[in-house]
Structures are given as C-alpha cells and as structure tokens.
Amino acid sequence: MAFAVFEPATLPEALSVLASEGDASAALAGGTDLLLRIRRGARKYRSVVNIKFVPGLTGLTTWDASRGLTMGALTTFRTIEQDEHVRQHYHCLAEAARVVAGVQLRNLATVGGNIGNASPSADSVPPLVALGATIDVASAAGTRTMPIEACISGPGRTVLTPGEIFTTISVPAPATRSGNAFSRFSPRSAMDIGIASVAASVTLDADGRCTDCRIALGAVSPTPLRATAAENALRGERITAAVADASGELAADAAKPISDIRGTAAYRRAIVRTLTARVVQQAAARAAMAGAR
C-alpha cells in the first residue's frame, strides 16, 4: 500500500500533476475515505495528490447577502457546522454537518470529499441539492460548473474525469420568506450512516402559500434524488400538517431504496415519508419566521 505523495502549493501545480498522473493517482482531501480504501486494498494508486496546501480550497467560507455562500471544496464539516452564516441561513447544511461521524473526523473530512466519494448516504448531498448549490470542477483544461446532483453518476461514481477536482461550492442566497431543514435517521446518533435522510427548502408568499420548494432525499437511491412530485404537492398550498403528510407520501413513492444490512426498502420508504413531512413543516415554519422579521 505504499504510494507517493505530491504536495502541490498552487492550483495550477495541482492540476498539472493530476493531469500527468491520470488515473494512477487520486486527489487527497480529508483522507477519511480515501486512505481507508487504499489501506483495505480496495483501490491501488501509484500516488496521491494532497491538495490541502492549495490556497483557496481549504476552510474558506465567504458570505454575501445577495450572492450567497461560497466555500472551498476542502472545507471541513466542523468548519461548516460552526460557521455563523451557515447556521443562520442554511440550517439544513449545518444540521447535516453535525451528524457526520464524530468531532475528530469532522475536523478532517471535507464537503468536497463527501460529494466526490459519491456514497448514496453522503450527508452533505441532500442539503446542497435542496439549496440549489453548484460546484466548480477544475482541470488543466479549464473549469466547469454543475449542480451538485449532476456530478454524481452512481454509488461511488462521479462524472469527473481523471485530472479533475472540485474547487468551490456555491450556495445561492436564500430567497425572502424561505426556510430549510434536514433530518436523518440512523440507529445510533453518532458514528453511524443514515438509513434515510431528507432535506427541504421552502419559500412562502406573503399569504403563507408555498411559491417554491426543493426536496432532496438521501440514502434511498443510487444517485441524488429530488422528490419532484412531493415538491409539486406543496406549490400554491399553505403547508399544513395534512399537506406535509401528502408530500411525504409522494416522496416515499419517489424513493428507490435498496434492502441491506441497515434496513429494508420498505422500512426506508416509511422513514422517508415521516422525515419528509417533518422537514417540510420545519422548513415552512422557518420560512414564516424569516418573513416575520
């Protein structure tokens, strides 16, 4: 399991070494998944390119009330969990960051790594999808930008080609009278992987009717999943318990879960139904509070 380690000091240097190493190499972010895969012999690499020393990729979050939040792809979950702007405007992202592993791992693990690892249960993905976030992908050939949901193509697979890395994640500014929420169910409250998770973002008009919403499901499909029928059930409505429950039913229908050691498909669907109804109401309540300010 020996491998060489490159430690580029600039982004062009990193992209150049990634381009020349190709698929014999992997970009190393927090290392909490990659190093394990290498140690277990699941993947063999001639080298890893440690991109933590590249300025601008690590730990930087910037907030602008009109443009929203940007953060380096190597921002750790602990930084996200503690960031005042995330906590104030993007509850669902802060809530998801808090349930990742434990404090020590959250000090290492990065949001870009979580996305790139492409686990269906990745905790950061449903909130970022619900918030309409985009991600910049850079290579020696240039940069492209895509929605978070577009960069994951299957369990453990992304659309990135060898030599490409995530650089920046952008989250739009929350709309007026909008709110968002996240909930995950796992048997243990820490150091566990979600059986199912749901993130929702809801925007209300002055009468309290839903004008826009996004609902994203986690751990119940091979790729990130928006529950569009469940969203449509909310548009134009006041979000009562009955409306939220109906939305939950549609989200459960949209889920494509598998049965595995963590839970059966039917169980996961039932969880999605409950979590969706719950987070939709919570997001709507937050939207109403935002409107009242």
């Binding site: 399991m1 020996a2 491998f3 060489a4 380690v5 430690e7 190393l28 927090g30 290392g31 909490t32 190093l35 394990l36 140690r39 440690n50 933590k52 602990r78 592993a101 434990g102 404090v103 020590q104 791992l105 000090n107 290492l108 409250s189 820490a190 150091m191």
Partner: protein
C-alpha cells in the same frame, strides 16, 4: 522513498525521516516512541489515537505525516504539566473514568480540546463532543462525570488547558 519531516510534538521539535504514506499515528508510535496514542482500529472509528493539531482534535491514524509537519502536535504525553497529572487525568482516575484504559488517552486529549472551546460544558455537550470516542468498558457515565468534575476544578483553579487553538 523517504522524506524528512519536522514535527513539533508537545513543544519539542524533531526531524523524522519516514515514508510519506505513513500515518501520523505510526510515526508517533514507531519513530518517536510516543505510544500513548493508541492504535485501536486504524480506520477512524474509535478515536483512541486522537491528538491535537494546532489545538484541533483529529484521528491521527487518518492524518498523513506530511499534514502534521509544521503544526503544533499535542499527544497524551503532553497533557500533564511539570506539577503532575492534569486535572482531567486525576478526575478520570478518581471517578472511575478509566477501566481497561485503552480509550483513555483519546478521551482525555479530546476532552482537553472540549474544555478549551467550552470551559463549562453540559452533559449533553460533553456527550456530543466525545461521541466519536468509543469506550467498551465504562458505559460512558463515569467519563462524563470525570470531564464535568475536571472542568469544575479547572475553572476554580484557572488551570490553563494544555493547548489553545492558535488559528
């Protein structure tokens, strides 16, 4: 191919020659003889290898040695002062927070970081912060009690926590 790394552990700087794929944990244990940090799972599940990097608790089994170079590394060996055991160490012993002892270095190093961030934590805050530290003996209640007791002692005596966050 080996490289030289300059590591500052518990205030003392050493130059270590090792391979870049080595973990910080293996480097501490096998090159520097600091075996207080335990190699429980070597995959980030147990946190018995917790050390502080610039005051921030991390699983040293998942940190490459190069990522620790140039940072201030605090291990369990650096927690006690010249005047004897740290209040956290005393409290763990006195209140039965130690049984087999394997998780204890990670528990204490993590608790140091907690008490730096939050000198007067509630039980819930202690449990949340130590959720990544696995103990198979105590049932955790005595660990929570020890941290709470040490926090009281430290606030009363204004004992500085061993490493302040420098960032």
């Amino acid at each position: 191919m080996t490289r030289e790394y300059r590591l500052t552990v518990n205030g003392k700087t050493s130059v270590v020659t090792t391979e870049p794929h080595q973990s910080l944990l293996d480097t501490l244990r096998e090159r520097l003889g600091l075996t207080g940090s335990k190699k429980g799972c070597d995959e980030g599940e147990c946190a018995s290898c917790t050390v502080l990097l610039d005051g921030v608790p991390v699983n040293s089994c998942l940190v490459l040695v190069g990522d620790a170079a140039g940072k201030s590394i605090t291990t369990i060996e650096g927690v006690a002062g010249s005047e004897g055991p740290h209040p956290l160490q005393r409290a763990f012993v006195e209140l039965g927070g130690v049984q087999c002892g394997y998780c204890t270095p990670g528990m204490i190093v993590s608790s140091c970081a907690l008490l730096c961030e939050q000198p007067d934590p509630t039980d819930e805050e202690i449990k949340f912060y130590l959720a990544g530290n696995i103990c198979r003996c105590t049932g955790y209640n005595k660990i929570t009690a020890a941290v709470r007791s040490a926090a009281e002692t430290m606030r009363a005596a204004e004992v500085p926590a061993p490493t302040r966050r420098t960032a």
